[in-house]
Symmetry: C2
Subunit: 266 residues, 2 copies
Amino acid sequence: MLDNLGAQNLSPAELRSAIRKGDYNRPTPGLASGYAQANLVILPKDLAFDFLLFCQRNPKPCPVLDVTEVGDPEPKFAAPGADLRTDLPRYRVYEYGQMVAEVTNITDYWRDDLVAFLLGCSFTFEEALLNAGVPVRHIEEGKNVPMFITGISCRQAGPFHGPLVVSMRPIPAHLVIRAVQVTSRYPAVHGAPVHIGQPELIGIKDLNRPDFGDAVTIYPGEVPVFWACGVTPQAVAMAAKPELMITHAPGHMFITDLRDQDLAVI
Amino acid sequence: MLDNLGAQNLSPAELRSAIRKGDYNRPTPGLASGYAQANLVILPKDLAFDFLLFCQRNPKPCPVLDVTEVGDPEPKFAAPGADLRTDLPRYRVYEYGQMVAEVTNITDYWRDDLVAFLLGCSFTFEEALLNAGVPVRHIEEGKNVPMFITGISCRQAGPFHGPLVVSMRPIPAHLVIRAVQVTSRYPAVHGAPVHIGQPELIGIKDLNRPDFGDAVTIYPGEVPVFWACGVTPQAVAMAAKPELMITHAPGHMFITDLRDQDLAVI
């Protein structure tokens, strides 16, 4: 069994292989530095068009990195040769909106009519923020990012509708503009912020009481900055109560072969 | 009947109304300055997922601006209140890959199972180039942009596959970098170029013999710059020979309420 330290020097393919063999089943943040990690949503084909359309209509919370062929668990673009049934450390299985299992592979759940969606994740732009000298508080404090349900509605597609969920990072005032510039380069992983500075304007009442994740310290002179969050499509899909939906377990992402830098538009 | 001059000062909604009433049936370049125009592709629902997936997999040639609800001709995001059956000046109707009609409305062809896709068009970034002082030769020469079939394959989705088609604009060498910067701001309308300088590297043999559109003058000191072209999805859809496909007629685009500036990521 690999620990985090042993895993840190492995390539994406080596990590996926270790995960597949059962040698690694922990969260993935910090692994395969420089490579994009992805959120996973698996749905039956009869919902795939509406879910893809939901993503197209809401690209900030739902940046699509790859979509598999119906019934094929290989993400041919994001990681050729990988197997989405076995290559994530932990999955959650939902039936009609209720979680029925948390498992380390989904071989027994896979069906010929399933379509897997890989959605960009904030780890990519957080690494870019850190490289630009912008602090990321929840990483400093060893916490999960604070996430809030906003009063902003996503654009509906078929059965998929619901509010935008955002993540919040407190940024020193003199670095806020840099944070906008840095994350604007990455529309494929949530991109530029959706709001800066006044949480009540987007329906958030108390920054100390996030709806998901952990509260973090906001120091004097810091401004709360909000980005669209990948929890949005999962929450929306769950609310539609599909007969079967499979996702990654929180923090246990799929590690792609796509370089963070390749996701930048400029 | 409005002429081009009479049409030039109308808003997008006024233009669509004039077109709907039969008062304008000419090409749309130069109209509704500052507003995005769009390519139209209409397909039956059973092909809609694969076509949307093709667009997701090939965002440079196929930048999706809006997708209608099944059977509903109103593009609720790009132009609320508009009717895609009547609000373009000219349409082409294809059955099994063969053009069977060119018409000024498609009311008689509309069906409850049709889905309309509006795809970004190069007019938006051409206006941005002109505003940045970068000349656009085919506009100067009153011609259609030269387009070439490349040796680059698009990523396949279901029955949709084929080569990338590009448009070419000769740019003075000292303005090429500016042209890259300006168009990079607009990933929703083809974005940055796909190639600069050596047509043979992307399978183009003779710049004087475009596959579609007109040849344009290339002056000494100018570099040919290639952008992904919206003809790609139409060519790919046509090659899949769907039982019914409807598109805009070349140059007769849909005029949206989206401002060009709103399509810029930075």
